[in-house]
Symmetry: C2
Subunit: 162 residues, 2 copies
DNA sequence: GAGATTATGTCAGTACTATTGACGTAATTT
DNA sequence: AAATTACGTCAATAGTACTGACATAATCTC
């Protein structure tokens, strides 16, 4: 059953193929904007957690601020994201999606969501929590705090018009 | 339930986090060899499908031959992979892992497999086929032929010593 | 209040992975 | 004999990431 040497090659490989195709959907859309996968990730988390700070974003993405700089600057310059001075701490920059940014984030998420729904249907899995539990268990325990399934909101207000 | 706008943000995000950590295990080992993720993928598929040709490998990885060239050359120079002239068509180069290559491929797969087993246990999923079916359904239908769960073998002979 | 620390931004240099385009060679097919 | 195929290679470019260094403004600490 391809568990020779006690290694689960089947799921290792399936995970590679699944992720490859999972990211291919938004990649095509992003190309139209001259954006890459890095822009997608930033836009996604800014939309998911409106008001998060630069430091929090770096922590979630696990990249350096120098890597974020270019991508974030482009998203700001193209009016997809805005920065607001932190209310408590004025050194902080709270990141918010604009209406334009939220629209793009949604457009990118739509085909991925469709793929997920289709996969759940095709595989005959009625309990989505099964997949959620498995994926969450794949994440490093000390990093699970970053995941707030359900609590984060994407329907929050954007800051495109003031 | 974070399915606002009809979008399944929960699984989208979990998939990102899960894959991020899934690849972090081998990344650390690869760094010791001066290799990157690209080397891992090549080594994995050469080990999984010993004897596959360059063209077949390009098709699985979905990259160009120019991208493959550098990575493959390094794996050959460091004695992880060997090329044999195709028996039927002498233009082809069949790729095989050496004993050294197979050992590295195994070392890279081990922590990933451990993570998968732990995740299955933690999430209380007793039927591994559930996850396999879901992941396979996430792959583009026209590309599922590339997946031969169970048929490919990693315990095949390597070509390190002749 | 002075000094240390924090949050962010930016400059410079480098590495890895990927791309397109072009050209060459040997082997196979027509 | 000519066309096609499989592979290799050279050159230029792009996207994403890194380390290290330095600057500025705001906050915290003594």
């Amino acid at each position: 059953m391809s568990v020779e040497d006690g290694i689960d090659f089947a799921i290792i490989e399936l995970f590679f193929f699944a992720y490859r195709d999972f990211t291919s959907d938004p990649d095509q859309i992003l190309a139209d904007y001259g954006f890459g996968r890095a822009h997608h990730r930033v836009l996604h988390f800014v939309s998911r957690r409106p008001g998060l700070t630069v430091a929090e974003l770096l922590d979630v993405l696990k990249i350096t601020k120098q890597s974020l700089a270019r991508v974030l600057k482009q998203l700001i310059d193209t009016d997809h994201v805005v920065q607001l001075q932190g209310p408590r701490d004025r050194r902080q920059r709270e990141l918010y999606p604009t209406a334009k940014g939220r629209a793009l984030a949604l457009a990118l998420a739509r085909p991925q969501s469709r793929r997920i729904h289709a996969a759940l249907g095709d595989s005959g899995i009625t309990e989505r929590t099964l997949v959620e539990r498995f994926l969450e268990a794949m994440v490093n325990p000390e990093l699970r705090a970053q995941i707030d399934v359900g609590s984060a909101k994407m329907s929050g207000k954007s800051h495109g018009e003031h």
